[in-house]
């Protein structure tokens, strides 16, 4: 069992803004606490402070029980690592160090086979045994079988980037939930998981006796799992001690109370200022009044120095707009299309204005299908084409944009790219403001939070004039309000939408459902299908 205790933590961003101020809360033994807040509020930053990745400018973090951490963007940062390395990195530090020592000793033996090198190797192995390394390897085997359907030895050298986003998440979760660490920090663990995967996660989180602090924007997950809710907003943190059902009311009540306290402070402030002014006049003729005037001045100064209580956080504003444009009736025509090794051949017609949700299990090839339509190189047989005036616009959060990372948003908007005209700073800032990114205009893309990156990518779609939107898991990472705004923008969009999604709520706003079945069959369903079994494929 373990706990996390955060006391008086303060964190300042490189640009000088105070992101978190005087943050204190505790996640007690066995709790399953949700960490919520709008995109960019500081949830990931807070988790990174707790895990020791970042050091706060003030305050402290205490914890016990060994810490397991799952990051928000699994796999997209260090794409060239193997499954083996990925699992090692998720292991407790002692195991990780012992592993690295064995690897180093193995390497040394390739160079020299003398006695000291051999003894060093033997002792590295002994140490590996001492830290429980052999048991860990047995766990890894269980984990890869559960997550990928293959034993550890069969997949350890596989590149992590050959796994789908959902498979990577599942692998990490299996590993952490079965591992020895008693405190788990999970940053958006449900992103990319298919619906059976999400349900599995819900069950595991309910039954685990570990202490869990998890970030999520998924209301179904929050409602089923969280036994308390930690909110990051307005630079601070507050805790709702109950479950999700009572949260909205608690939050409203809190905001009203804050507004009320602030109003009282303002009124009192005004009263004191008036009083000082009056006394100042009277002090001119009466020495007695002069003393009272000075006393009152001191009182006002003290009152102001103590500062006003925090006001209620401003309501978030996000207004996405997607215009599109008229195209030919036939937008996508596919005949006996088969993405090599992923599915059985299928036919598909998508017409102008259709809203097609692509559903199915992790690893079924949905993202590959979208990439093919976006014009990327995807091995396939059969035929496909886009109709007249169809301009695809592709959105994928797992898609790495190495060339964006070290440029600012205003710069990226200024330059434009083929199919997306550049815009001047004024227009760029106005658009960024609508996406709740005004303060981020001069930030590098790499420093944006997950949800801010997602919002920015929708913004690029808005500017691109695409008439066919190809969206891969667009609501993952988006906070609730942004996801709603995206839904509204799609509803008003004059064009065609094909979206891969595991978001149960978002999927229901579509009118066609293309299911990538577990048996390799691609078929259309009249209703969303969420329980296609895991794809069983020999790899």
């Amino acid at each position: 069992m373990g706990y996390v205790d955060v006391a008086g933590v303060r964190f300042t961003l490189p640009d000088g803004r105070v992101l978190l101020d005087d943050v204190s809360f505790r996640v007690g033994e066995g709790a399953c606490a949700a960490l919520v807040g709008e995109n960019g509020a500081g949830k990931t930053t807070l988790l990174r402070i707790i895990s020791g990745d970042l050091s706060p400018d003030g305050g402290s973090v205490a914890r016990t029980g060994g810490l397991g951490v799952m990051r928000q963007f699994i796999g997209s940062v260090r794409d060239d690592i193997t499954v083996e390395r990925f699992l090692v990195d998720l292991a407790p530090p002692a195991v990780r160090d012992a592993w690295d020592a064995v690897e180093a000793a193995e390497l040394a033996m390739m160079e020299a086979d003398d006695e000291p090198t051999q003894m060093a190797y033997a002792s590295a192995l002994a140490h590996w045994g001492d830290v429980g390394g052999y048991d860990v390897e047995v766990t890894w085997d269980t984990v890869t079988v559960a997550a990928l359907g293959v034993p550890y030895d069969g997949c350890k050298y596989r590149g992590l980037d050959t796994l789908s986003g959902g498979e990577q998440k599942r692998l990490a979760l299996e590993c952490l939930l079965r591992g020895p660490d008693q405190v788990l920090l999970l940053d958006e663990p449900d992103n990319y998981l298919d619906v059976p995967g999400k349900r599995w996660l819900e069950e595991r989180l309910i039954e685990t006796r570990k202490t869990v602090l998890f970030v999520s924007h998924d209301r179904e997950l929050l409602a089923r799992v969280a036994d308390r809710v930690v909110t990051v907003e307005g630079g601070g943190v507050w805790v709702h001690g109950g479950d999700w059902a009572g949260y909205p009311a608690a939050r409203t009540a809190r905001h009203e109370r804050m507004a009320e306290l602030r109003k009282r402070w303002d009124e009192e402030h005004e009263r004191l200022v008036d009083l000082v002014r009056t006394l100042q006049q009277q002090a001119k003729n009466s020495p007695d009044m002069a003393a009272r005037y000075h006393a009152m001045q001191t009182r006002l100064a003290k009152f102001e120095a103590a500062g006003p209580p925090p006001d209620r956080p401003p309501e978030q504003q996000v207004a996405m707009r997607l215009r599109g444009g008229r195209t030919g009736i036939r937008v996508v025509v596919a005949g006996q299309l088969e993405l090599t090794g992923l599915m059985k051949p299928f036919d598909l017609d998508v017409d102008y204005g259709d809203r097609v949700a692509v559903l199915g299990a992790n690893g079924a090839g949905k993202s590959h299908f979208l990439r093919l339509l976006a014009g990327q190189d995807v091995p396939h047989t059969g035929s496909w084409r886009l109709g007249a005036r169809v301009v695809p616009g592709f959105f994928a959060q797992t898609h790495a944009h190495p060339d964006w990372l070290d440029r600012t948003l205003v710069d990226l908007l200024w330059h434009g790219e083929p199919g997306r005209p550049g815009v001047d700073r004024g227009r760029a800032m106005a658009t960024l403001r609508r996406y709740g990114l005004a303060a981020q205009g001069d930030q590098l893309f790499r420093s944006l939070s997950g949800g801010q990156q997602a919002r920015f990518q929708v913004l690029l779609l808005e500017l691109s004039g695409a008439t066919l939107l190809l969206l891969d898991e667009p609501t993952d990472n988006l906070d609730v309000l942004s996801a709603e705004s995206l839904e509204q923008a799609l509803a008003a969009y004059d064009g065609t939408v094909v979206a891969v999604t595991h978001d149960r709520w978002f999927a229901r706003t579509f009118d066609r459902f293309l299911v990538f079945g577990a048996d390799g069959r691609v078929y259309e369903a009249p209703e969303p299908v969420f329980d296609e079994a895991r794809v069983q494929r020999t790899r």
Binding site: E115, Y121, A122, Y134
Partner: protein, 69 residues
């Protein structure tokens, strides 16, 4: 890397294999007694190593020491 820690009481059976292989390899210039002695002392020096890895470690070290002789 070995995959499991098997704590077999008969672990020295696999070391016997090492002995016969090394005798075949070095028998032309060393007598069996010497080889067995070297293997034993390697086994001793490597006690504390994971049982599963032991045969490989012992054979490797013994071969190295016999070559140096």
């Amino acid at each position: 890397m070995p995959t499991a820690l098997a704590r077999s009481p008969h672990q020295d059976a696999s070391i016997d294999l090492a002995v016969s292989r090394l005798v075949a390899e070095f028998g032309h210039r060393l007598d069996q007694q010497t080889v067995v002695g070297v293997v034993r002392s390697c086994r001793q020096d490597l006690s504390g190593s994971p049982a599963d890895a032991l045969p490989e470690l012992v054979e490797r070290l013994a071969r190295y020491r016999l070559t140096q002789d």
